[in-house]
Symmetry: D2
Subunit: 172 residues, 4 copies
């Protein structure tokens, strides 16, 4: 059994046709898994629904605790891309032995699922597969790749995730 922890992010943003603004309502995860004909056994828990730029240390602490307290050894977290790496670090560096035994994969999307041409379905399929295949550790699954938590950065200009080595070579 895999636990999916929903925290919001672009994944779940919708368009409010009355105000013309983007907002959060309910998570699209169940619909996305149905659309993908997923047969992986999961439980979905919506922990928060927020833009990751608005996350505080307290919010991140709640995510760490949710990972620690989950009885499942494999956890997938949907998360805004902007501070996904910070949350991965918070989980990986938390001083709790129970976290060391788990496979935890964070993923997100650059385009809201509700906007049709989303990378969300692709990323969800990817993250759900890495979380099954990899051993204990904290990872970021984006752009079809999977990075160790301490070897990934978001290149904000390009809108993609790269390893630290790649980052140095492009910006150097």
């Amino acid at each position: 059994m895999i636990r999916i922890i929903v925290t919001g992010g672009t994944f779940d943003k919708e368009y409010d046709e009355i105000t013309g603004r983007l907002f959060f309502r309910e998570t699209h995860l169940p619909e996305m898994l149905r659309l993908g004909r997923s047969r992986v056994e999961v439980t979905i828990a919506t922990l928060m629904m927020m833009d990751s730029l608005d996350m505080t240390d307290a919010d991140r602490q709640r995510i760490v605790e949710a990972c620690r307290d989950a009885t499942d050894a494999r956890i997938l977290i949907t998360h805004g891309t902007d501070t996904m790496v910070e949350t991965a670090r918070a989980i990986a560096t938390a001083a709790d032995a129970r976290l060391r035994e788990k496979t935890i994969v964070l993923t997100g999307a650059m385009v809201p699922y509700a906007f049709g041409s989303s990378d969300g379905m692709f990323n969800l399929g990817s993250a759900l597969s890495f979380v099954q295949a990899l051993g204990p550790g904290v990872y970021v699954a984006m752009n079809g790749r999977c990075f160790d938590w301490d070897n990934v950065v978001k290149d904000r200009a390009l809108g993609m995730f790269v390893s630290r080595a790649e980052r140095t070579s492009t910006s150097g």
Copy 2:
């Protein structure tokens, strides 16, 4: 580098608005990878474009040879779901040592990518991840799961892939 071998299947079916029939034109793989913001390094080779129900032993032999001759150690094959398991078996049982060193993942779709509500993006993200994460072997990645070639069947009534044990329990 991962090699993607395209053989057709529901993945790539389109609607011909003149005849009202489903047909194959070009593969949608490059567009799907772009949409998924994939940054995995791949080469795409279209070997054939056919419904897997129409595949002959000779067609399957061509797929085996394409896997054998590929210089890449990791290969993803897009394939019709109806005989995906047969092709997996043909690859796994071919008498060639070079095949034993490779990670080969077959995937497909229940709904054409071009029809909007497809499982294709999800399956592509999934298969591309399993092919990176798993060791040598021949696998079928469908429904978010990954099966060993000799432990999977398509449940045609349900339209999904299950392990042999699951099959027995549901049909028994």
Copy 3:
């Protein structure tokens, strides 16, 4: 009040993921009107769900009678494109004075609504507008245009509807 008579056609075709074939289930008209935020008062009646190539004279007679018996003066018919013109003729030439007082517009789609990139929403918006704006008569609304029933043919090679004059000039 406008009466919408559903007869099937490409408009309402769906993809059966078990058999890989196109088929009819329920009409998508209510969903399409909701998606279009339509506020036109309509009643929807599904008379039949069939490919218009399979329609017999008896089927067409049922459509004529449904138009005749409708208490509404404005009627929109969704119909397969292949014999849409024949049905328009059957309605226009039926010997019944009640039909002469009505505005009857037939429309359809080249691509199933369920396949995402459909012309169905565009055609529905168009036909629903012509049926409100035009006086009594029998019309075919396709490709954003509206044709009198006796001045339209489907150009099967191009997959579009043209007036008789246009047809002559292109085929001559």
Copy 4:
């Protein structure tokens, strides 16, 4: 020949995956007409690309002049919904005889076309049909209906257009 004047509005908003904001790039009108298999002869002119809440009197004056100067007798304007009625009034009350001879229809969308589940295709089909079918005047085509410029208001709470009589009855 029908002239389409593009002014922006929700119709043409896109999602910027780098900033997470909605923005304007190019109009989607040509793509939408192609998707709708439209065969109506049109010329498309992008006059401005803006949110209608940001329109000044000078902007509206430019729209009036573009209508006046167009050699076509039938004009369709795509426009943000928030001040669509104000622009319709500006055109209808401008002191220029040339405007009196034209059929001018304004339309827009509640959901961006690029976001998949849009009312844009429906409204475009509707407005393009009304502009062909109606005599001289200035109209607003929304929700499948067509209103005279001086008998329509946007009900902001409901996100739809209603006649003045309907407005009074619901708010009274």
